[in-house]
Symmetry: C2
Subunit: 586 residues, 2 copies
């Protein structure tokens, strides 16, 4: 109860009692690791998050990044924290030993990351982006590119960014206008000169790393000088802030975006090529940019999910601590005697159980997917990961935020003030339904690419795993009714998918977002039931902990699962009450 | 389309085509008014809101109130705007002519207020509180108190506050500790010396009005010096910042609260009696404080609802304007050609229709209740007003905020920046589910005082009005199915109420909040159906407008009404999955 970050017992439950991380660790590629080394990682993650990330949570919000003629400056405490993060080798946690990494399972490095995301998401965003950047270069770059640009990031000396959006092209990457003109080739590959504007660049500039590696999506013009249409013409380029010879590249910060939250992460509009062209080296072949990005997308989206879950989780912990301490009112039907702790009021319990089911459920979902990343050599696991990724991105973003909303409410007026952390958690978390693909984009990805246009493998694997949980729950008197409810729910979803599959044209997508909402809750219902079964198997020392998991599962089935029907209603009816509306009547 | 505030055609529809304000204006007490005078009020309200309130919306957020040795200072533009508001007689709009007022129906003054709330809720909060304060004194105070303290507020020269909460007593007013010791009596009545701390005092100090009238809840000690238990011992006192002789009263600002939003409204912790006792005059008889406050509560809570609805409404307008202008992506199934306005994407339409149904629905609900205030001499209307008040407070607060959340989402990354207004609307609106009684408190009020412990009059009147709408809708081919759905929904609610009425002890209240959620949506479904019928009766010049109302109603029935079942599920089952949980397992 001493700190508001991830509860270690909970993490151990998820990784060991529920997800069976020991099976992963038994794989030859993780031979260097054991439960002990992973435990040690969590010990130091928890300590560093508490000592170096949490203390500047508010300062990073109130003292926003600022810009002068030298560039962008960020709160020095962010640099200090990230120096320690690098010194402990945490940038390298998930990389293979041959890249200087610890070679930990993605599951373990993700769980470690959850501590930092809970403590200070804006500071944690720098390594999150850096690791994603380095992994992309390590996967698709040449040996020289890996050596020059990935390794310094894996060491945590350089940081990385992802430059996709432009002012006129956010979700619509087909309209990227940044141009890359072929220049020459050198030891780092084919060199280009880039001109264009890149928007929403998190970590686009700062003064704490020795260099910044921008990964930039751009188009190589056709012979007539025009840009190729669509996304097929997008290529990926490495554009460092400082060139290998130490000189400044032609990348300038046109401005800082001033955000509602997530403020410690400097977010920039970058101009490339104001002085003639920013130097960039292409990664792989021309036209592969979006495909390369997409191959990394699962991890990036799970990363967003973990961040959102961690914010929701921390808000729940704050609310829980507050609700135990704050005395107010009396139990219903009681008029005298001293005030009671507000945790005893039914409505406060409701808000806490909802937060618990959202935050712990969201973290469980993300770690479940992280394990699938470690198993993605297996075709079934890879298909399931693809299917669940839009849920892992969206559900924590929506319900982590909902948990933060309830955390404010539990605090009453105090929660609305900056004297407490919950209002900032709420502001920070509001970004998550937007970046790395909005909720609406995820909905189309789920329904289109992952269900209707997929061979059906992912859904088949998911249904089989749910069926397995249902069978096990049917044998458990406490959960039999819920197992039946879950089974019915998935039959309804299957019916809805059939109806959508029969749609002509694009009408199947008219209600993609309500479909995503229904699907997401149905996945979480399954995970909660599965966790309740794992909790029921714990030994009696863990009785209180197990009862907590059971209560959250019970809450989810009684209060949340009925919502699935409500979201499915217009989907199953193929309502065109939305898509059929002419925009001029709005 | 030129401004983001309330659309005049919409207001006219609500007041004239739907609520029949002409019937109100035909009453003898409104003989001075006509449609023309009310129209003139709206003309000047719209203009003043645009000219003097909207321009400093952002400045009032970024330049927060500050305190020095002289007291609290607020942005000068707030004072300038409120001076104009006073000069136009708008503080006086809803007061009777004998008090210097315009004698307008509450319906009309509420609609006027919606412009200011939409333009700048933090600035509008000062007159909202001042008017509520003056009305309380005008209702319960002596002639001398009205003359001395209410009239200067009605003129807008002095502002007022409501001092209820204390640091240890927010929702739990029984635990108020502010003490009032009898002093003497003078021309203003029985005088007391008050000592205590009052928390969350909006407008608790500022430098733009000539004086501040605090209305303070306090307890008069018993003979043994102890304070009476419970709420019965609470009295109401007038405690001005400056005493009638011009000297400072013993009221000091102990600190300013720094809030997530609503920042232009200075929010203070006030210390009373640091130098021996703040001078206050009791209003009416001792022990009547809470009852007096409660008699004014309907209006205060509808006022919060109007503010929340107006914020949701303005966010919708911003999102709509943005969605028509912003070009991005192509229609599903189209890969070439120029980008389209995002309003053409089904998911953006969904977010806009949801906002329209929330924001316009919330405003309709509040104005419906405002009309009931004007009719509260009628017992049925008064009972219905009592029943609907917790909905008018809560539903706009929850769904106005939900609308603001969607307004951000429509703007994408831009909506998350302070360059646009929607993030501030979202922060401002987050206060509304908290103040003037949290959502949880409203739920207990609805279920307990207004339904289970009421004679049933309010619910009977409501059911009769709904039945009338259902009968009319059954005759309309477009709405027959929805009429039947609404009727079924209310039968289910009636069944749930029967089940709750059979509960023993306090278990009926275990799920009061989900009950409130279900009841609220069921009320809005009725109002939307009723508005759709009114829109269908408009003449053909209004065809586009009418189609917009029909589309919002259709959205509400297809996408929102199915949620009622989900909320009612645990209520009807009398689930104790929340209340039965022991707090130590959380």
């Amino acid at each position: 109860m001493s700190h508001p970050l991830i509860v270690r017992r909970d993490l151990d439950f998820l990784l060991h009692d529920w997800l069976g991380m020991d099976d992963l660790l038994a794989q030859p590629r993780f031979a260097d690791h054991s439960r002990e080394t992973v435990d040690a990682l969590f010990d130091l993650s928890e300590k560093l998050a508490l000592d170096a990330f949490l203390p500047h949570y508010k300062a990073a919000d109130s003292d926003e990044p600022w810009q002068d003629s030298e560039g962008v400056h960020i709160l020095p405490a962010i640099g200090t924290a990230l120096k320690q993060y690098a010194d402990l080798g945490l940038f390298a946690a998930g990389f293979a030993p041959e890249l200087g990494g610890m070679g930990l399972p993605y599951l373990a490095s993700s769980a470690s990351f959850a501590y930092f995301a809970a403590a200070n998401i804006a500071t944690a965003a720098y390594p999150m982006l850096t690791v994603a950047n380095a992994r992309l270069i390590a996967t698709f770059g040449s040996a020289a590119q890996v050596e020059t640009f990935a390794l310094p990031q894996i060491e945590g000396r350089w940081f990385g960014t992802m430059c996709l959006s432009e002012p006129q092209a956010g979700s619509g990457l087909a309209d990227v206008r940044t141009r890359a003109l072929s220049d020459c080739s050198d030891g780092l590959g084919n060199r280009f000169r880039l001109t264009g504007n890149k928007m929403w660049i998190s970590g686009g500039d700062q003064d704490v790393s020795d260099n910044i590696v921008h990964l930039v999506l751009a188009k190589i013009p056709l012979a007539d000088g025009s840009l190729p249409e669509g996304t097929a013409g997008i290529s990926l380029f490495i554009v460092p802030k400082l060139l290998p010879d130490g000189t400044r590249n032609d990348v300038t910060v046109a401005g800082l975006n001033h955000k509602m939250g997530y403020r410690g992460t400097a977010n920039c509009l970058l101009n490339l090529g104001e002085a003639g062209g920013a130097t960039g080296w292409i990664v792989g072949a021309p036209g592969q940019g979006l495909a390369q990005m997409f191959l990394m997308m699962n991890e990036a989206r799970i990363g967003v999910g973990i961040g959102a879950a961690a914010l929701g989780y921390r808000g729940y912990r704050h609310a829980l601590i507050y609700a135990r301490e704050r005395l107010q009112g009396r139990l219903m039907g009681t008029r005298s005697g001293p005030p009671v702790a507000i945790i005893e009021h039914a409505d406060v319990k409701r808000m806490l159980l909802a937060q618990k089911s959202y935050a712990e459920g969201a973290l469980a979902l993300c770690l479940y997917c992280a394990k699938l990343v470690d198993q993605d050599g297996n075709a079934d696991s890879a298909a399931l990961l693809g299917l669940l990724t839009p849920i892992a991105k969206t559900w924590p973003s929506e319900y982590g935020l909902a948990a933060n909303d309830l955390a404010i409410q539990v605090h009453g007026g105090y929660g609305y003030t900056r004297d407490f952390d919950v209002e900032q958690l709420y502001r920070d978390n509001r970004l998550n339904p937007i970046h790395e693909g909005t909720t609406g984009i995820q909905a189309i990805d789920l329904l289109g690419r992952k269900i209707l246009r997929d061979s059906g493998t992912g859904l088949k694997v998911l249904r089989a795993r749910i069926a397995d949980s249902v069978v096990r729950a049917m044998a458990h008197p406490d959960w039999r009714g819920d197992a039946m409810a879950l089974d019915r729910c998935w039959m309804q979803l299957a019916d809805a998918i059939t109806v959508l599959g029969d749609a002509t044209g694009t009408e199947a997508y008219d209600n993609a977002t309500p479909f995503l909402s229904a699907f997401g809750h149905a996945v979480l219902g399954w995970l909660w039931l599965d966790m309740a079964l794992a909790a029921a198997a714990l030994d009696h020392h863990d009785a209180l902990f197990a009862q907590g998991k059971a209560a959250a599962c019970r809450y989810f089935f009684d209060y949340e699962m009925p919502k699935v029907d409500a979201w499915l209603a217009p989907v199953a009816a193929r309502s065109n009450a939305v898509a059929g509306v002419s925009s001029d009547i709005l």
